[in-house]
Amino acid sequence: MMRQMAGRYIPGDSVLHNIIPSAKLFSFILIIAAVIFTNTVVGYGAMVAFTVCVVLYSNTPIEGLIKSIAGMLPFFAVIFVMNSLFYSSDNPIWKFWFITLSKEGMIQGLNVVFRIAIIIIISGVLTQTTSTMGLMSGIETLIKPLKYIRVPVEEVAMILSVALQFIPTLIEESDKIKKAQIARGARFESEKLSERAMAMLPMIVPLFLSSFKRADELSMAMESRGYRGAKGRTPKARESLDRLSVMSIIACAALCALEVII
């Protein structure tokens, strides 16, 4: 079941592995912003060049990336077709009822596909070079400013890290429940959608029961050990911003600025 995770963390020692997570996440956000602002040919060129660099510096297996992009092709096709047919344009090539095929629409479609493809590659690289715990600590650092609008940041960080720790256990649990019900004769290959939907009940109810049971046990254990809230928690040792991380932020900020200007 784990196989479906395309961007699963692969331990390594590449340049990207070594950027501290909070800086990497921040850079990631900058790249997303840059992608959204990209709209000229030069801008696209810069974006592609940047993406290639990122992939090369991360030692990510190229086939994996190609596969994940290939898997998205039908989705891309749908986006492209939708945009080319439904874009309201003044000089359509072909018009029928509410369908308007236009050059602008096609360009718009390509734009969207390009952006999504870049974001998929970059986020794949991000998750492949950052451990989940790393991502967690990065998110925790980045949401700290929210404290000023009275968001209980420590509580949120605790919930997120518990959620991530639960994922492998729950995957295993769900796999087990699925197999147990299949062995009891549960079927999912029905032709009718509604029947197939109902066939999920024997999976979902036990999964909720067992995960809530785990939640109950964990919260009782936490309370019995005197846990009353995340406030008093000892903060994790902060990773200081090293040169590599600062450089990554600067590079991404520069890219973002470039895309905004041109």
Binding site: M2, K176, K179, A180, R184, G185, P202, P206
Partner: protein, 290 residues
């Protein structure tokens, strides 16, 4: 009529950095009516083996042949397989989901060809053999039962199809000694009725007292296989595979050390008891002879 595994090899996530070998060229035959004990350390591949046997995992290589037909053959009757082979996973109580106990036990019979009367008969039989009164418990929510009752109910749900082969993964883990004995008796009764039983357990006492034949796995291979007594007697090999001596066997050994003549092949409690009775009855006579 048998379950036959031919050269089964299985690897989890082949071709990824997370590749992990689970089974390495395992062949095995289980004949109808046998009581099999399956042992081995955690991660030795026994859970993978039973899941392959039940057709829940398709092995990378090799064939599973049940009653003479390869289950991966095109057009194999999977629904039929589910009626023929039941599997009780570790902590089976998680599989309960219906609003009433009766409906939950009936779940496995949903696609069977039996008439409603026959189904009802099967369901009642499953309730009774697992120690429930179907009229009392049937309408309750399975979630309102106690922990031990939930487990028995889940097992009733597997038994309701009256499978010919029953596979159990650590069914007695976490049971108290009385419940454990009761449960093993249930398995023996089912076996008397002709059900083939394959049980995974870490518990040497349970296996020694229950299984006719014991299979010990290690690192994805079958390390030792043979009748239970022989397997437990072969100490060097058994120790290496992490199989401890059963309690009865250990007591017999201690008695021997203290000069009480107990036969070497005592493994189960009942054998020890029998041996001791014979010993103390013959005590005087044997002293006379020497």
């Amino acid at each position: 009529m048998s379950i036959e595994l031919k050269n089964i090899t299985h690897i989890y996530e082949p071709g990824t950095p997370f590749e992990a070998a689970a089974l390495n060229n395992v062949s095995l035959e289980i004949r109808e009516g046998e009581k099999i004990g399956l042992m081995g350390r955690t991660g030795c591949g026994k859970s993978t083996l039973i899941q392959i046997m039940a057709g829940l995992i398709k092995p990378l290589n090799g064939n599973v042949i049940i009653d003479g037909i390869d289950i991966d053959e095109e057009g194999y009757d999977r629904t039929g397989l589910r009626q023929k082979l039941g599997i009780v996973f570790q902590y089976p109580e998680v599989q309960l989901f219906e609003t009433t106990a009766y409906k939950d036990v009936a779940f496995g019979l949903k696609y069977s060809d039996l008439t409603p009367e026959e189904k009802d008969e099967n369901i009642r039989w499953a309730f009774e053999i697992t120690g429930f009164d179907p009229d009392k418990v049937g309408s309750k929510s399975p979630l309102e039962l106690s922990g031990g009752e939930k487990r028995r109910l889940a097992i009733a749900g597997v038994l309701a199809v009256r499978p010919k082969y029953l596979i159990l993964d650590e069914p007695i883990a976490g049971l108290d000694p009385v419940a454990r004995e009761k449960f093993l008796k249930l398995l023996r009764d089912l076996n008397e009725e002709g059900m083939t039983i394959i049980m995974i357990s870490h518990n040497a006492d349970a296996i020694a007292g229950f299984a006719d034949r014991t299979i010990v796995m290690s690192n994805g291979r079958i390390e030792i296989e043979g009748d239970t007594k022989t397997v437990f007697m072969d100490r060097p090999k058994a120790d290496e595979a992490g199989i401890s001596v059963s309690t009865a066997g250990r007591i017999a050994g201690m008695l021997r050390d203290r000069g009480i003549d107990v036969s070497e092949d005592v493994m189960s409690e009942s054998e020890l008891l029998k041996e001791l009775c014979v010993h103390f009855n013959n005590d005087n006579r044997s002293e006379d002879q020497t």
